[in-house]
Amino acid sequence: MGTFIKRIAVYLPEKKITNEQLVGEFPEWDVDKIANKVGIASRSVSAETEFSSDMAVKAGEMLMHENNLTPDTFDMLILCTQSPDYFLPTTACMVQHRLKLPTSAGAIDINQGCSGYIYGLAFAQGLIAAGTCRNILFITAETYSKHIHPKDKGNRTVFGDAATATWISAEEGIAELGGVVLGSDGSGAENLIVRNGAMKAAKSGILIEEEKDIASSGDYLFMNGPEIFNFTLKAVPRLLESTLKKNNLPKEKVDWFVFHQANKYMLDHLRKKLDIPEEKFILYMENCGNTVSSTIPIVLKNSFESKTFKSGDQIVLSGFGVGYSWGGTVLTFNAY
């Protein structure tokens, strides 16, 4: 039995932070430098009172509205987030209720970041193959902006908030999901982390004004850029190789490469290292930023709408990052 992506919807919060605004806050920065290196001109940021559940509901409603679906279409909700509303209950249960999905539908959060879309596809494929579900609503929703220190110009430049909703089905759809490979390496856990606020370490509660060294404050998102970059240089070539092998697909037969949109600098380097032609490698983050688990579905939605893909196209998806964790798969495009 196949697994298909039937439709995708994207929700970007209304509030945008432009490079000019960032330069206003951090005058030592120059706009050209930021824009050229990271390939991001503006990013969406959730409102102060807008949380992952709210964004997930909006993405789910958009998916149903845009495609004339009713909530009883779905028999499962998977929600990928690393910024849940609460420790418990799982955010997915609250979203099930607010979207009026039937109570016969299962609901669960998965905690994964930049590889989260691939993990979600893998779980959906497993649930469909086992006959547990036939129509899955898979939502990614992230408010990393709430994890980031207001004075952390690096992370504020790179990350944007977003939510996406994907309808995954046992019935024919836009694209068929191929074999999935997953991987993880917790030795890199310290390099991308929000250390405080869960069970092991309480939030220090140090006032932002008193903050001297953002990197040493465990209350906020910490990213060791060089370490993460170094990780991707090692992990992504292996991920691509294993994804192609799993799908018996020679690299030359791939029509499109859709990688997690981390930042342009890193993706340009990876593309050259992997010898991928520029015209097959999709970059799409200029007006939304790195939206963590939402980057891949945002690229897919945009490519569907711009009619980039042709029937029969083979599309490689690669997600990698926080954990460390990674995942890859191949989509065969039908028609939109």
Partner: protein, 76 residues
């Protein structure tokens, strides 16, 4: 393995413009131009030009162009 002059040229290329007074013995981590973007660019340059995979911790042992050159020689 290229000579030290080529290596120096590659190293300087990681900065948007050549830092003033950068000798092969300058502790490059303490010049104002050194930031996390430069660290990324250094890793990218070592990968591109010398095809070497590094561990950040061992890379941190090299603090001057001369030391970095020796490090790269030991790796390739």
């Amino acid at each position: 393995m290229s000579d030290i002059n080529t290596f120096r040229k590659n190293f300087v290329g990681i900065f948007p413009k050549e830092p003033a007074n950068l000798t092969n013995d300058t502790i490059f981590r303490s010049i104002p131009e050194w930031d996390s973007m430069a660290a990324l660019a250094l890793i990218a340059m070592l990968d591109d030009e010398y095809k070497i995979e590094v561990e950040i911790e061992e890379l941190k042992q090299a603090n001057t162009i001369n030391e970095l050159y020796s490090f790269v020689q030991s790796k390739s």
